[in-house]
């Protein structure tokens, strides 16, 4: 069986400032994060011959970055119209391009003015009934938080998951963000703060929802051979998966997403694909040292902890509440503060945090002896994740 294990490595990391008002264009953010990733690797634009990105029409294309940074030649590129099913899968696709010989060294980035530009949560969007939206928008289901609230409700009814347990996810992330200078929110958060925060869409409260953030981040990847001689110790891609289960629904419309066909809302396709993800990496869930789990809303990491095999189905809420995923627990989670507190760069900031932890340069938030990281994007009827190692 073909396997991409350890054939490609992350060699450069680049961030912009994360904020709620960048004061610059998305193009500026994209170029800055990409230049920072190249500089971090100790390479130049002449070494880069591929670019990959994902967006929902709120960002810039690979051609914009290639032209802006003055790449001599763009041998391969892809722009994936995607929600956070692109968060790790865009990296995975770029790695496959390197293995297939389409490019040698590829920038992968996500850039967005997620607060001052297009707000992915759906606030401020006009009503649209052209696509699959015609089956939900006329009834007031217009935003992504509502779709995820449907999931949370199912999980609460089926397994007894509580709002307190979802609050424990928010608190865990905030504790980590306090140690992270890049995080957009660093003030302490208590369970009372969570419980007293206003209901956005019942059962999701304000602090169950991630930040809306302006910013960008990028990684530079190349072949394992080339990676050996560069500035930082390489972070190898062990495995990755990206797909959808039986009757996942069409998932994305133009303005929102929903998946009424998906058989059981409280389960994700990760339940099916995790065995392939771990199997191709040659590990089990017990070998994972840090987990950067997509946390658009607090219910999402709870479901993922179950479906990626860290606890039994239905026990994700209790698992988080036990402290297992805090930085001193046995599975530190969202060590940068996650989308809930570091900021929402559509999940791509999880990839950089995973790589940073494995390089050992995460500063005050460094988890000791982190060797293997699981990084996930959005998981529902669709799912995507990668496993990285140092």
């Amino acid at each position: 069986m073909n396997n991409l294990k350890d054939k490609v490595a992350i060699v450069g990391l680049g961030w912009t400032r994360f904020s709620t008002n960048s004061g610059v264009s998305v193009k500026n953010l994209a170029l800055e994060s990409c230049k920072n990733a190249i500089d971090d690797a100790g390479l130049t634009v002449k070494d880069v011959d591929g670019i990959a990105t994902y967006n929902i029409g709120d960002s810039v294309s690979p051609y914009v970055v290639a032209t802006g940074l003055g790449l001599p030649e763009l041998r391969w590129n892809i722009e994936y119209f995607a929600g956070a099913n692109g968060a790790t899968s865009t990296l995975l696709t770029a790695a496959c391009a390197i293995i297939g010989g389409l490019a040698d060294t590829v920038l992968v980035f996500r850039a967005m003015n997620g607060r001052t530009g297009t707000r992915l949560g759906g606030a401020g969007m006009s009503l649209n009934t052209t696509g699959i939206e015609q089956y939900c928008v006329p009834y007031g289901l217009t935003t992504f938080p509502q779709a995820v609230a449907m999931v949370a409700r199912r999980h609460m009814i089926k397994y007894g998951t509580t709002s307190h347990q979802m609050g424990a996810v928010a608190l865990t992330c905030r504790e980590n963000a306090i140690l992270n200078e890049r995080a957009v929110v660093r003030s302490p958060l208590s369970i009372e703060d969570h419980q007293n925060s206003k209901m956005i869409v019942d059962p999701l409260r304000l602090y169950d929802c991630c930040q809306e953030t302006d910013g960008a981040c990028a990684v530079l990847i190349t072949s394992a051979d080339r990676a050996k001689d560069l500035r930082h110790s390489p972070v190898y891609l062990m495995s990755g998966t990206h797909g959808a289960g039986w009757q996942s629904g069409e998932f994305f419309g133009k303005t929102t997403a929903f998946w009424p066909e998906w058989d059981e809302l409280s389960e994700t396709y990760a339940r099916t694909m995790a065995s392939e993800l771990y199997g191709k990496a040659g590990i089990t869930s017990k070998d994972v040292d840090v987990a950067e789990l997509y946390d658009c809303f607090t219910i999402e990491p709870i479901v993922q902890l179950e479906d990626f095999g860290f606890c039994e189905k239905g026990e994700g809420g209790a698992f988080v509440e036990s402290g297992a995923v805090r930085r001193d627990g046995h599975l530190p989670m969202n060590t940068h503060g996650g989308l809930l507190s570091e900021g929402y760069i559509h999940g791509f900031n999880h990839v950089l945090e995973g790589a940073s932890q494995l390089r050992g340069d995460a500063g005050a938030r460094q988890i000791k002896d982190a060797e293997i990281a699981l990084v996930t994007g959005y998981c529902g009827p669709v799912a995507n994740a990668v496993i990285l190692r140092r």
Binding site: T129, Q134, P138, Y139, G140, T142, M150, R153, P260
Partner: protein, 139 residues
Amino acid sequence: MSMVYDTEHPVPIPPIIWDNMGYWEGINRHELVFQRCKECGTWRHPPRPVCPKCRSFEKEWTPSTGKGAVYSWVTYQESPHPGFKAPYSVVLLEMEEGVRLVSNMVDIKPEEISIGMPVEVVFEDIAEGLTLPKFRKVG
């Protein structure tokens, strides 16, 4: 309590294209219909050109019993859009035919909605050219 729409911010009328024509034609004559595969009898919704079970493109618009049960629901205390007056709930229903449908309940408070609650269809004329299937509690 039922969903209250603000006519200043009307819901756009879904454009009728080939795939959805029978569905909205049914709604407009106050009949809830779903696609059913002519070959293997599998129901499906939202409408699509082909059966995911047997791959047949032959289908017919078949009347639903209009009965189902609440599978999940959410409630907005503050509206995300001026077109809808808060508070309001959106329900995800499982119909007797096995398909799921997003809708609203009528004549019920959000806190009275529960999982498994049996419901039946009613039709609401929202605006000129837009009728929607809504649901009320049975019994």
